[in-house]
Symmetry: C2
Subunit: 647 residues, 2 copies
């Protein structure tokens, strides 16, 4: 409850009128309530049903439908001004996505048309169900590479293209089921277990791997390794150096890559010219296609796209493997690719939501992304997610709502219906150049530098994932990221920090003596702060560390001719919880100290810990009078006793 008393001003710590405050036991809560609040915090910490409270049944039903289809909510407030922004941004991302889609489909070992299909249906589904206003949906480079690599390991796409395609649809279906399932079961927090550092490393490594793969198209090499590691790829490239490289191809690719990169540079320098890098790829495609068509450079060995089927997505529901040996493979690949796709989409959603200050419900978002992939797998799409590069363009082009995705989808559909034959003479080198320029944006050197500065261990995780992807394979890189992320969590819980506190002069504040060298230790008293919940995973460490601190401080005191330590005060503020192992450790610590005539004192245990200290009878064991509200109180209690003992 708030109150109106003004807080004491002027930074004074006064008014502690010799009143001894007891450490309160919180009001007792029932077991059911206890469990309920635990589950709520775990799965429903965002209180998803708060809007449903105190509403009529019909209103509740409407809110329910709106929860699944946010479009119903915002469509009513839609206006021409918003449409203008969405139209411009939709057209911009459409011009960017068409050439990217064709290239990304190749990364997944699919015909170019599947890339375009995937930019038609999924964005429409997302527009109806998603809650991000800025994300641009479609195939992305890393997930395309991942699904391409994983599926090729099972079925050869050249020998059995039909089966390969079916496997891709199966994986897409299960990726969708997996994503939607996580959201539905409110397990969205699981993706937080992939650390930022590992993701940065993985993305960077994947970007370089993808760029290297493009050397095939860029240099016009015909025989190329199927492996993705840098050693195999460079070997392929240099083996083909003498007669496998096609200079015409290189010339075309290099000129347009330069053009695209210059356009990117212009866009970076002047944010108003954001459309320059956005349409540069499409212009490159048009110009180069026209150029090849006139010069018939394809007869000189310049490889071209050749043929893209006309017409929008055919139904593919019958192609999904719901039984047989490829079912489990599909589930496995779908799970991995779905997780990566989810990580990317959620990261994008959060970033832009924070920039424009609106909320995204992670679990709802996952249901939308999952549904979009399930529907996609029924309509000849492969796995899609939010694209970093296109979402950024979408944002800069001034998109207002998910309508920009609808605009993009319509443009892609029109392209499929009418324009695809014109892509016949598009040189592969241009697609390679477009992909290279796109994935370069995934290499986030600034982030890696920041990680290095902030946390060396994080940097190791980042580099582990990076080199894992580059030198071994995408899956191994991903595995390394996951393992390192988990190892970091385990490290965090087994070795919590403990610090020795001292009194900051002229205050009653006790602080880390390493951080505040002016903070003074009090002779005969050791104040130690444990900076973590005390659980089975760290309870032994904490006990042993406390005894080691005691030994060290005692030696120091002896060397400085100070009285030996007679009181150990444990500052428990940061100890949010304790389990049976933790209580055992405290008991053992208490016994060890007692044997040496040292008194154990606890300062400021929190509500949960206080309750458990009492339930376990440990509070009785050390005596209620040895538990204090604050370190200051505890020291005030010990000091006269110390003086007595020394007298």
């Amino acid at each position: 409850m708030a109150n109106i008393n003004p807080p004491d001003g002027g930074g004074s710590d006064a008014e502690h009128l010799n009143v001894r405050h007891r450490v309160a036991r919180p009001p007792k809560e029932g077991l059911a309530k206890d469990i309920k609040s635990g589950i709520e915090e775990m799965f429903f910490h965002d209180a998803p049903l708060r809007d449903f409270k105190d509403q009529t049944a019909s209103k509740k039903a409407l809110l329910g439908i709106q929860a699944v289809f946010p479009i119903i909510g915002w469509a009513r407030e839609y206006n021409l001004k918003k449409l203008r922004g969405d139209l411009i941004s939709g057209l911009t991302i459409a011009s960017l996505c068409i050439p990217q889609d064709i290239g990304y489909a190749k990364l997944a070992n699919l015909d170019p048309k599947y890339g375009l299909y995937s930019s038609f249906v999924p964005p429409l589904v997302y527009a109806g169900m998603g809650s991000s206003r800025d994300i641009a949906i479609g195939p992305v480079a890393v997930v395309s590479l991942l699904i391409g690599t994983l599926c090729r390991a099972v079925i050869d796409p050249v020998d059995s293209p039909a089966e390969y395609l079916r496997l891709v649809f199966t994986a897409t279906f299960f990726a969708g089921i997996f994503e939607a399932g996580l959201g539905f079961l409110r397990l969205g927090f699981l993706i937080d277990f992939l650390s930022h550092a590992a993701v940065v490393g993985f993305m960077g490594g994947a970007a370089i791997t993808i760029a290297l793969q493009q050397l095939k198209g860029f240099l016009g090499i015909k025989k190329f390794t199927k492996k993705t590691d840098v050693v195999s790829v460079m070997h392929s490239v240099f083996k083909a150096a003498h007669h496998g490289w096609n200079w015409q191809t290189i010339l075309i690719g290099a000129s347009f890559l330069t053009f695209i990169l210059v356009a990117k540079f212009i866009g970076k320098k002047n944010r108003k010219l954001f459309w320059v890098p956005a349409i540069a790829p499409l212009i490159s495609v048009i110009v180069s296609t026209f150029f090849v068509f006139i010069t018939r450079a394809d007869k000189q060995g310049v490889q071209i796209v050749k043929h893209i089927d006309q017409g929008i997505n055919p139904i593919s529901i019958g192609k999904i493997y719901f039984s047989g040996k490829y079912l489990t493979e599909g589930v496995r690949i779908g799970g991995i690719a779905g997780m990566v796709a989810l990580t990317e989409a959620v990261a994008i959603g959060r970033t832009f939501a924070a920039m424009k200050d609106y909320q995204i419900d992670g679990n709802k978002e996952m249901i939308a992304l999952g549904t979009m992939n399930v529907v996609g797998s029924f309509t000849s799409c492969y796995i899609t997610t939010g694209s970093f590069s296109r979402s950024a363009v979408n944002y800069m082009a001034g998109c207002q709502t998910a309508v920009s995705n609808i605009v993009m989808a319509v443009v892609v559909a029109l392209t499929l219906e009418f324009i695809t034959p014109l892509f016949k003479y598009t040189p592969n080198a241009i697609l390679a150049a477009i992909i290279i320029s796109a994935v370069l944006g995934l290499i986030d050197i600034d982030a890696a530098v920041l990680i290095w500065k902030i946390d060396k261990l994080d940097f190791v995780a980042c580099m582990g994932a990076f080199f894992g992807v580059i030198f071994i394979s995408v899956e191994i890189g991903l595995l390394i990221s996951v393992v390192i992320s988990f190892a970091k969590i385990l490290l965090q819980v087994t070795r919590p920090r403990t610090t020795i506190l001292g009194k900051v002069p002229r205050t009653n504040v006790y602080r880390n003596t390493l951080q505040y060298p002016e903070a003074l230790k009090i002779p005969g008293i050791m104040i130690i702060r444990v900076d973590s919940a005390i659980y089975f995973s760290n309870s032994n460490y904490i006990r042993e560390r406390a005894l080691r601190w005691l030994r060290e401080e005692d030696e120091e005191a002896k060397a400085a001719d100070m009285p030996a330590i007679k009181f150990v005060i444990i500052e428990m503020s940061p100890v949010t919880d304790i389990d049976t192992s933790g209580i055992h450790s405290l008991e053992e610590l208490h016994k060890s100290l007692e044997k040496n005539q040292i008194r154990l004192i606890l300062a400021n245990p929190g509500p949960v810990v206080t309750e458990k200290l009492h339930v376990s009878k440990f509070a009785e064991e050390i005596g209620d009078e040895n538990i204090f509200l604050s370190v200051g109180d505890a020291v005030a209690f010990c000091s006269p006793k110390l003086a007595e003992q020394q007298a």
Copy 2:
């Protein structure tokens, strides 16, 4: 550094003389030092080499040998008084272990002699290398059952006893390698990942499973299931009820079980009579053997031990599989059984060390346990560890050093050499009764009740392991324990507590308003404490939770007609570390608050966090003047501003 100024007495918080204390950045440490201290805390937190400092080379060598063989250290101080204690306790545990060994060997599907072998060599090795003074080494029930179950799944012990035996030795060898390896690589902390609650549940379940298995011997059933789950066992028991039960067997078993349990009860009531329950099993064996020998009850269907080979351990080094298909199985089984054995031994070691207040070096202890199993596997022993029941008897009988293990080993060796033929007529029912009474002690109902009181989630883990063992199998129960233990760790790091603080009246102390209902919130200011390091696994949760607190507090303020919140103070004391994801989250929180004209203020960030806030430029972003030494300082700063705004 300690200083001699007396601390301010009388519980007053005075003297904070309007000095604004800046939050200090800790002295910069080099990267190498940073990494070094991280590694030290992880692997060498017990400073194992501190005794080696400043010593001469020869002294160092001696200390090194002594570190591996602690016996060299304490043997010099050994005296007759200690010998007396060790002799009594050694004889007591020998009398207890001989009948137990014979029974436990059967749990492992081995001949009784292997149980006795295992109580001869390993205790001798441990006596030389171990650092616990109270642990009693030998085969134990749970590990015997575990290795029996796991090995039988690979090789049938009845069809191919020789191969089965070889597999057991192989598993023992690798269990030893595994244990010693963990200790040698200083990875001993890994066993802390098995939570106390899970161990209690697992042990209780295993005890009941073992007791149920004894119904075969106890009821004299000949055809018995090989499964260990309660349903299969009870089915076997009742199917045999009509003509498979042997009343003579039941009579003998029941009488002696009653005798042993009464003896146990007497020992519990009067601690001086600790030897009564300790020798009751041996007496039962002697009396019942004599009884069967006279009455020739074995001709009435009472099953007897029949024959135990005479002589001490033969060499078995040649029987270990170092190649072939059973090698990997041996490694796997050894790994699992080794982990369980280690958990038991370390728990025992720690318990008694705390009772007598001496230190045990967990890593060294593991090397000793591992070596003892490796040597054991060379000398026809199966996997051994510390026994709960025998260690307790050892302790109560007044053991002083590991010499009691040597005494026990000698007695066992003499038994093997001279007495084994006398066991011929020992009825199996007696062994069953002894095992039942021994494993009953593993069912720790008090611990389960305490776990229930302290932590409901821990109790779920405990019951999960318990019912997993009883209704499915030992391995599944173990798996459940491990999974739940890890899930709890993950839960702990993803959903840290956040609390709203208020001012405790007449102090300048800010505390959890739920724990201290008298603590007052300050109008216009929300003070929130984050009780955990901010890492990738929880950074999003913390940001969202903070925004939710803000929403809730604002609604409450509005309802109470209070001013809206203009300052959010985050109390950072418990935030021991932050990573890049955490900094991102703070940035996003800062942006969200800024959009609503709310000022973000940090109070008392620790050394590591302060450093990282500066390195990442976040400190600049929110402004150095918004970081305070304490919540009190921060509130004192905000209050006048609030008054201004409202004026």
